[in-house]
Assembly symmetry: C2
Homo-oligomer: 684 residues x 2
Amino acid sequence: MAEPWIIAPVSALISIAAGFYLYHYIKKQDSGTKRMQEISTAIREGANAFLRREYTILAIFVLIMATLIGLLLPTPVWTSENAIQNLSLATAYIFGALCSALAGFFGMDVATKSNVRAASAAKNGLNKAFSIGFRGGAVMGLSVVGFSLLGISVVYAVTNDPTIVLGFSFGASALALFAKAGGGIYTKTADISADLVGKVELSIPEDDPRNPAVIADNVGDNVGDVAGMGADLADSYIASIVAVMILGYTLRDGLPITHEIPLIFAGLGIIAALVGVATVRVGKTGNPGKALNMGTYMTCILYTILTFATTTYLNVNLRIWGATLVGLVAGIIIGITSDYYTSIDRMPAKKTAEISKSGVALNIITGFSYGLHSVFPPLIGIGVASTIAYFLCSSIGEGYAVFGVGMAALGMLSIVGMIVASDAYGPIVDNAKGVAEQSGLGKEVIAVTDRLDAAGNTAKAITKGFAIGAAGLTVLALLAAYREIAGAVDFNLMDPLVLLGAFIGIAIPPVFSAMVMLGVGKNANRMIGEIRRQFSEIPGLKEGKEGVKPDYARCVDIATVGALRELLPASLIAIVATLVVGFVGGIEALGGYLAGSIFSGLLFALLMANSGGLWDNAKKYIEAGAFGGEGSEAHKAAVVGDTVGDPFKDTAGPSLNTLITVMSLVASMFALLIAQYNLLGLFA
Amino acid sequence: MAEPWIIAPVSALISIAAGFYLYHYIKKQDSGTKRMQEISTAIREGANAFLRREYTILAIFVLIMATLIGLLLPTPVWTSENAIQNLSLATAYIFGALCSALAGFFGMDVATKSNVRAASAAKNGLNKAFSIGFRGGAVMGLSVVGFSLLGISVVYAVTNDPTIVLGFSFGASALALFAKAGGGIYTKTADISADLVGKVELSIPEDDPRNPAVIADNVGDNVGDVAGMGADLADSYIASIVAVMILGYTLRDGLPITHEIPLIFAGLGIIAALVGVATVRVGKTGNPGKALNMGTYMTCILYTILTFATTTYLNVNLRIWGATLVGLVAGIIIGITSDYYTSIDRMPAKKTAEISKSGVALNIITGFSYGLHSVFPPLIGIGVASTIAYFLCSSIGEGYAVFGVGMAALGMLSIVGMIVASDAYGPIVDNAKGVAEQSGLGKEVIAVTDRLDAAGNTAKAITKGFAIGAAGLTVLALLAAYREIAGAVDFNLMDPLVLLGAFIGIAIPPVFSAMVMLGVGKNANRMIGEIRRQFSEIPGLKEGKEGVKPDYARCVDIATVGALRELLPASLIAIVATLVVGFVGGIEALGGYLAGSIFSGLLFALLMANSGGLWDNAKKYIEAGAFGGEGSEAHKAAVVGDTVGDPFKDTAGPSLNTLITVMSLVASMFALLIAQYNLLGLFA
């Protein structure tokens, strides 16, 4: 009989196949009028150009890093008796980066094809358009989990060594970090500039074709939201599987397959997600937001049943299954509480909308305050979930307690295929709306795309909370894995080196956030100048004279160049700081550093994601007619709040998950080397 | 021969005497025209009315708390063989609260007397006006340290037990927390409302007598900035002395006076501050900012010399003196880096001012980003200082390492008399400017008060960084003291209860900040309505018709009632959460909780203080003529940024120091009880 973990690559392949099938389904759909195709081509070309240039830069970085890994890790090649390990690790690293890049590229490609087709289908009502939008997202979701799990399975099958899989994970995460920082800066540069000049200064609607930044804005949705967000969940997904494999590896004497359980559960998660995706349907009068959530719940239930059956069948302790369930439930609860703080029909968004009548400043203060408030439930949720999982599994035996924490992370992330599907749906239908507006498809069609878009926002609030919660448990599992690799040391807060490390670690996520947001500010400032210039220098543009077109390409170029310039420094600093702390302070200092970065990383990720979402919905609440509606003073204030929230929720916030994952992975990769060579260790 | 620590009460008495002397000096000065006296009386009455009502509420709280302490601490009175300890602790607690209240009241009283006299003296130039402003601040500084150290000395002389002094410290800190939250909400409610309607909507200048909120705004400066800030440093000051006494108490076998060293050093610090205060002088053409800083440096140098001589004379290990010096140097470095991020002539403020040309949103994003950036140097500074102090003293013997960390905190705080003096100078001259404007003293006089005010802002940037750094080291010392009391347990981050505690602890400072800032938002919203109503309903008010006066009292009342309503809940939640975590999770969970609250508390304190200061100065930079100067689009954007920063830097930010101090003190007070009775302990 084949080993049970074979279910991982098999379901991964099925997932990829299903993705291909849906991809062809989308390609077959009507791609609309000539004007629509023109717009869609412009978006696709802009997005491809950006990704090409981004990946060129990153390829150089990956090669340098791979060389370093090959030379130094797990131990320097000149001292190592087993140089093949170095080669394996470097290869796994490149392979991981490649998988991440492919998933990003593929997801974006299908997104730029789906948007125009969803817009076209919207002419015939909600039903078909929703299908296209969601299936576009599903291609992304299924290919992300498919490629990720297939990659892990290949590396594991070849090497049979979870620490080599760590290299794969590091490759995927590091690439994801750059892609998210770059995409995040791109998308918000374009979005903010287009809004500030278009909506605020000239009072022309969003996605108006007169706005020179409108194509750049649509490109940004794809390179930022689609490619970036897919990479985000993929990297937590991979990292959680790897972390649990490493934690399980030390327990393999107890149960030979312990370290393969994460692979098995991940495979089952894919099957559950496939079924979940297949069941998402909306009637002609149906509610698309509900349909998305039903798909998620369906996936969860199926996953619970499948894993229970498998656990029993394989004679694995049911407490391990219980830990997974704890994670899954915590993920849903965290998602629901995030939803409360950001949702358009809840108190925080409404109060923020109301106080906007008294001006911008109070809108900002209030939205930010609710954002601060919103960190409480998820932080408690992560803490409680990890504690329950810990104690649930601690009675199985030595080492199982932290393994349980890892399984909880895995539980949260196992349904990630479905999560990414409903999350990627958002920017696709957002773009569909943009295409519809620019190609003048009429009010009714735009109303349909509006409804699709609103459902995307609801789904997004839940999935974002979910993503951060999952990242939180994952990095805790990674911290435990790091400790395991480094030799089961303790991180005692009363040890001054641990504390020093923690103080430095706390400071990294805010500094990283500052750097990428300042990047957005600088670039947006430049692009605003360009948009103002075009409106004042191109005759007839402002008035919308027939045949007068802005120079879209110029804005696309500013966003591209700016994002590429800013994407490396912030991310590199985080990697370099991790190595400096490790090689100077040693294993304990690095442990404190990781813990500190987890604390402040989660804090700011939640704060920024939620306050950003809240400002967005406060604005939408006013646009729906409250407090004077569109054009009122309250609305103007709320638009500014929304703009402040843009880089919070789409640039800095979502990169932080990946940042702390990358920092933890770097630490684990270098742990053995750091244990041997560190400055303070030399003195001791 | 008397015991060496007698220097503490003696220098405290001298300090109080010097304060009285300066108080009478100020009272003798000319209090200006009738109109000026009218305004000054209105401010004083408003401030007194607020304090009276605030203290009435707090007295009830203090009595309830004292009863609980008397019944339960250190061990329940019905199980205790030594009930006198319970009584002592409760009495010390009340005494501490009383001292804090007195220092706040006295400081505010002199501040409201100094402002009008400084304004009057400004008619004759800078020199005399500066003297009055600074001496007013010095009364505050000298009485704060005097009362604090005298109180500690009395409690210690009577009980000879540092754990009873802990009760004194808790009383002082808890009262300070409420006073700061209440004062902070008051001052920003008035400030924001006055600015938003006056400056932004109607374009009338600041401190214009037509504005119905102008008196409330001036009252706010006194109840918020003067009384609040004095309480802030006083509570860190007392807590650091107590923490080091407790840490030293376990070492008294090594050197009998170890636990009295903090008293001796604090006494020497007062002497140094007295000399420092006496040397602050500014010539007719002199630079007041420089004069303030020179006073601080003078105090530092003198303190270093005095403590070195005493350490040698008493045959105390010089490494202990070294640790103090480390703290002092770190405090200055942290102050200087804060100055970089907030100062009007540095890059961050200038860049933020420049980007304001592109609108409010980019001003907010940029200022907030630099605020995020600014947390890095001080966090590293606190981490490095504590590590150096630790290793410096660890070779003296077991237990001396953490004692060294405490001594570093003490080193930072020993010069607090001088720090408070130059800090309280700020709101006094700010008020002097307000009085000058409202009573029409002419352009030249206002220009003098402007210069005095600018110097206050420079000094404030440094002292604020200093205060946060000092609080950081103090809470670390308190954490060590808590651990000592709780029985030298370890707080291992891989222990799930420590981790759970940490996750909860991290969440408390943001939730607290959210609550007080939402309080400001709500109250300001109410007051804005009232100001708009007065301008529209009182005929001739907007136009400044002779004899037409707004209803100042109504605004004062709104600010008072609102602040009183909001001041208890946020602070109580922090105390209650600490007890819940302790009595449910036990000693280790509470240790993690404290560490978590320290991490996020410092993070947000720095972020909010610095971004708030930065926004303020970016606005001032534009007002000085850059980027279009006053009235330009850039200026309008910068005014909004400044308003957002107001509750950051004056409500939430500065309360966070006190919050984490209070949480640490509660933990230490209840440590013995928690070790005996906790829910999870019952199951274990």
